[in-house]
Amino acid sequence: MDTLLDPKHNPRVYGLAYSLWLISSILSVGVFIAGREVIIRTYARFFPWDAWRVQTGQGSLSLINILISLPLAIFMIAVMIGGFEYQHRYMGQPSAWRLLARILAIEFGILLLALFI
């Protein structure tokens, strides 16, 4: 009895893998926006006196913005390009599904966190 997740190259597997990759790519944009917002918002809530100084070009908020934007952007690019490349190379393999699951879990984790913080 074969199922969709078995390592076989058929159109259904391709369709599912690329659909999930597409979803993860779209979510990665949301993760960039939400993740950046969560961190900046949390920083501003803990250190409002410092966050306000950004208006006069002072404080650490600009630096934090850069520091978090970079890894989030790298993550987004990695998901889009690296994820596609990986799926393409290891189509239908357990490692490919596992990578997709992990990426989606990370993305859902950050987005879920953004709902509360």
Binding site: T42, A101, R102, G109, I110, L112, L113, F116
Partner: protein, 926 residues
């Protein structure tokens, strides 16, 4: 079916790993929130909570060899030591070692919270051998908003909880060890001698747990904890002559409120409903399969019963700490239990993640934004407050910030909340304290306000508040705290209660025709003045929007200036005072004795004045307006002209100290161009407190002219934030407003006031009565507030609570007092607000659903008697037709009346057609 099972089997590892990844995000977030909050709390230099300073004070007293458990507090200091001594003792070594006395106490709490989390995790690990479930339980405990909040406070609770959880761990880890019950028992005694309420849940859990392991050890534990606990109690009680019992039992039996309990339980449910449901599941079903049930179920039940005492007045979330520990451990157990089924485990982990999120939301909202955010915003103000406290060498009474004393090594004289509760219960005689307040033995009194909720009424008895009001005066607010200092000598007295209007006053003569001024539009804030040298010349001014629904920048806000040369019969719009892309509003007009016209308006928070002193200057042009001051903040400014000197006076709320304070203030000018420095009354209201909202802004600031260089400033302000009724204050000046004497309270009003002066006579119109039904009353004095008369001016017309529009009042040269006022139409009573709903609407406003009538009355005998009010409008004035700004109806700040020798000209806003307003006046002969 088999296919589904297979797919489920294939998907399971991915979901299982995925949901754990999500959980890790929440665990990390819990750690981040706890650490940041802990660090910011521990390093905060001032008290974070009312209860911190008494514990520091007790440690100071104990270090000095004093008995903190006094059996009798009929003599000062009026302090109570609510808790057993262990935490207080733990503070002593750090009393002199740190800059802030709070630092040591908070570090102890923070470490104790981490220890509690560690013991919770270790208990779980002992039961399950599962690291993740142990971490989940420990971090869920640390994520609790109650734990987050209390772990940064110099309070007893976290240390007590650390002892309790340590004891439970000892019982679980070594259930059959001979010495474990002894060690655990001693830890339970330590917990109970840190906080007495910890003598319930953990001992009960320990006893039931040991009972299931070894009944003899359980009995031994009960004997140890009970015996040692009672023995220590009797020892300490006898050493303190019964003071220990009085302080930790008698003085702790505070009033219980079911409503308070309901509110807190509702909050508990809202923030923890997932783990509460899971715990109920555990409680009901866990006994069959969970070996931890005999420990955790009694702990949960005991903690819940203990938490129910949160219904006591003054209780806080610390009553939920044991419960949080119990819930965290049960969740850990359920986590392990769910692992036997992968999909159940996935569901439980997901639910736990959501629960983490709910706790974060609450913690960030309350602990970070509300508590820490406010406290850190207040640091500059608190530094100033600390300087003020240092300048007061004598005893000071304080509530929230009594820690200002302890942090400067000064003992507390009073714990107002504790003794107020004792006084309310009839267990403490407050008269000696009241006598001391009356004798002004205290250099200052600090009463804190959090917002409009009157917490100070729980902390100070009515008699204490009344005594403070009588013998002290509020001199400033800082960080939500009103600073009172002893009252000095003043000649200003309180006005008496109003008398019914005496005598029969002949009704005014009026043809019944309201005279429209200008065209119907979107006007408000009308003002009117009569030329004393030419009674046929009158001028009026009103703010006008370019559309009914106004909002900048798509709406023009300008001043419409009108005049009449025929005694008010026909009016023309002589000038439109408008500036490109800038609003101009709140116009006022006043003639001096020589017939020179002065016009005031506001442009971008700058008060501008135009003195029209010659025919060439007329009609006025916006180009001729000169900036008078940009110090305006809050209250609407008032323009008045000294009838003797002809000088122009502007009274307003002026900012002081780079927007630190707002003070009732005054500037004056002889030519409308060169203005004096700002002279201030000694009442400084923190601008930050006004916006918090922890203080009321001074309002209706008006100058009244007496003979010579004497003048007075009257205004409304109340130490209770954003509420009604408010106190009317008065301060006198004998040097033409350069300096002012001490402000004194003269009246209390249920609504905005207005005032007028002429020939040395002052008249103030205000509202008396109750929240539901009020009367308009006029208080009058002819000797700068030494003696007053007060009479009801609104006759049989009743006024509901309405603080929108002040009545208009004026005094004619012959001493006749003219009065014009709005009240709700008889058909429009249900729309009236009360204080609470007004407070809630205050930030947003509303579309006014009410209808109004406008009345005129007058007095010929200096305000002793008034004519029966004459209704001026034929059709009701509809609130929903008033102009609106940002969706809220804009009522006029005040009505006005011009008073000539023969005629009075009241001015008001009517609504002649749908969605439009019209300025009206009437020519009334008295």
């Amino acid at each position: 079916m088999r296919n589904i099972t297979t797919i489920s089997e294939k998907l399971r590892p991915y979901f299982s790993e995925g949901v754990r990844i999500i959980l890790w995000f929440f665990l990390v977030a819990a750690a981040v929130i706890f650490i940041f909050h802990g660090l910011l709390s521990v390093t905060y230099p001032y008290s974070l909570d009312y209860g911190e300073a008494p514990l520091i004070d007790q440690a100071m007293r104990m270090a000095a060899g004093e008995n903190i458990y006094r059996p009798d507090i009929s003599t000062p200091p009026y302090t109570i030591a609510n808790y057993p001594p262990l935490y207080v003792i733990s503070l002593i070594p750090g009393l002199n070692g740190f800059d802030s006395p709070y630092l040591m106490g908070r570090i102890i709490s923070l470490i104790a919270a981490l220890l509690s989390a560690t013991f919770i995790g270790m208990i779980l690990y002992t039961f399950s051998n599962d690291r993740l479930s142990s971490l989940v339980a420990a971090f869920l405990f640390l994520a609790s908003p109650y734990v987050v909040q209390w772990s940064g406070r110099a309070r007893i609770d976290m240390l007590a909880l650390a002892f309790a959880t340590a004891a439970l761990f000892v019982f679980v880890r070594w259930p059959r060890s001979t010495w474990a019950w002894l060690g655990g028992g001693l830890l339970l005694v330590l917990a109970a001698y840190t906080r007495q309420s910890y003598a319930l849940a953990a001992p009960l859990a320990g006893f039931v747990w040991l009972w299931t392991q070894n009944k003899r050890r359980a009995i031994a534990l009960a004997l140890l904890v009970g015996g040692l606990g009672v023995a220590l109690f009797f020892l300490i009680n006898s050493l303190t002559d019964g003071g220990f019992y009085y302080n930790i039992v008698t003085a702790n039996v505070n009033e219980f409120g079911w409503e308070r309990l309901g509110f807190q339980l509702e909050r508990l449910w809202g923030e923890n409903w997932i783990i509460l449901l899971l715990s109920l599941l555990f409680l009901g079903l866990g006994w069959r399969s969970q070996k931890s049930w005999p420990l955790l179920a009694p702990f949960l039940v005991g903690a819940f019963i203990s938490a129910l005492t949160i219904g006591k007045i003054g209780s806080n979330v610390n009553y939920f700490l044991e419960l949080s520990a119990a819930l965290a451990m049960i969740v850990g157990v359920l986590f392990v239990w769910s692992q036997s089924n992968a999909w159940r485990n996935i569901a439980v982990i997901f639910l736990i993640s959501i629960q983490f999120g709910m706790l974060f939301k609450s913690s960030m909202g309350e602990n970070v934004d509300w508590i820490l955010g406010t406290r850190y915003n207040d640091i500059d103000a608190l530094q100033l407050l600390e300087q003020d406290v240092k300048k007061m060498p004598g005893p000071i009474l304080a509530d929230e910030y009594m820690g200002m004393l302890t942090m400067n090594g000064r003992p507390l004289y009073l714990q107002p909340f504790e003794v107020t509760q004792l006084a309310n219960a009839g267990m403490w005689d407050e008269q000696p304290l009241l006598d001391e307040i009356a004798a002004q033995n205290f250099d200052g009194v600090l009463i804190h306000h959090f917002n409009t909720w009157p917490v100070h009424k729980e902390r100070w008895s009515p008699a204490m508040l009344a005594a403070i009001d009588t013998y002290y005066r509020p001199v400033k607010t800082l960080a939500g705290t009103v600073v009172y200092i002893p009252k000095g000598e003043t000649t200003i007295t309180r006005a008496p209660n109003p008398a019914p209007s005496s005598g029969n006053v002949t009704g005014p003569v009026w043809d019944g025709q309201a005279i429209p001024i200008g065209e119907a539009g979107f006007t408000m804030d009308p003002a009117i003045a009569i030329n004393p040298t030419d009674p046929d010349q009158l001028v009026a001014i009103a703010t006008r929007y370019s559309k009914q629904e106004c909002e900048l920048p798509t709406c023009k806000i300008e001043l419409a200036f009108y005049d009449t040369q025929d005694g008010g019969q026909t009016w023309t719009e002589a000038a439109t005072l408008t500036r490109s892309k800038q609003a101009m509003y709140a116009g006022l007009v006043a003639f001096d004795a020589s017939g020179n016209l002065n016009i005031m308006g506001i442009r971008q928070n700058t008060i501008e004045v135009n003195q029209v002193s010659s025919q060439e200057d007329y009609p006025p042009s916006v180009a001729d307006f000169v900036d008078a001051t940009s110090a305006l903040i809050g209250a609407r400014p008032w323009l008045r002209v000294d009838p003797q000197s002809g000088e122009i006076f502007l009274s307003f709320g002026a900012q002081e100290g780079d927007m630190l304070y707002v003070t009732p203030s005054l500037i004056h000018s002889a030519d409308g161009v060169n203005w004096s420095l700002i002279s201030r009354v000694d009442q400084h209201i923190s601008a930050a407190d006004i916006s918090s909202p922890r203080a009321t802004a001074p309002d209706h600031i008006q100058v009244l002219f007496a003979e010579g260089d004497n003048l007075s400033l009257v205004w409304t302000w109340d130490s209770e934030p954003w509420t009604w009724p408010r106190t009317i204050w008065m301060a006198n000046s004998s040097d033409d407003g350069v300096t002012f004497g001490e402000p004194a309270p003269i009246l209390e009003t249920w609504g905005p006031i207005n005032s007028a002066s002429a020939n040395g006579q002052f008249a103030i119109v205000y509202r008396t009565g109750t929240e539901q039904t009020q009367k308009l009353t006029v208080a009058a004095t002819s000797d700068n507030g030494r003696n007053w008369t007060s009479a009801i001016a609104s006759g049989d017309v009743s006024l509901p609570f309405d603080v929108n529009t002040a009545p208009g009042i004026n005094i004619a040269p012959d001493g006749t007092i003219d009065l014009v006022f709005y009240t709700h139409s008889s058909s429009s009573k249900d729309c009236a607000l009360d204080v609470l709903s007004w407070q809630m609407l205050q930030p947003f406003g509303r579309i006014d659903p009410c209808e109004y009538d406008v009345f005129y009355t007058y007095s010929l005998d200096s305000g002793l008697s008034f004519a029966e009010p004459l209704q001026l409008n034929q059709e009701p004035i509809r609130g929903e037709d008033l102009a609106r700004y940002a969706g809220a109806s804009q009522a006029s700040a005040a009505l006005a009346v011009a008073s000539g020798e023969e005629y009075a000209y009241p001015i008001w806003i009517g609504t002649p057609q749908l969605g439009k307003t019209q300025v009206y006046t009437a020519k009334i002969q008295r």
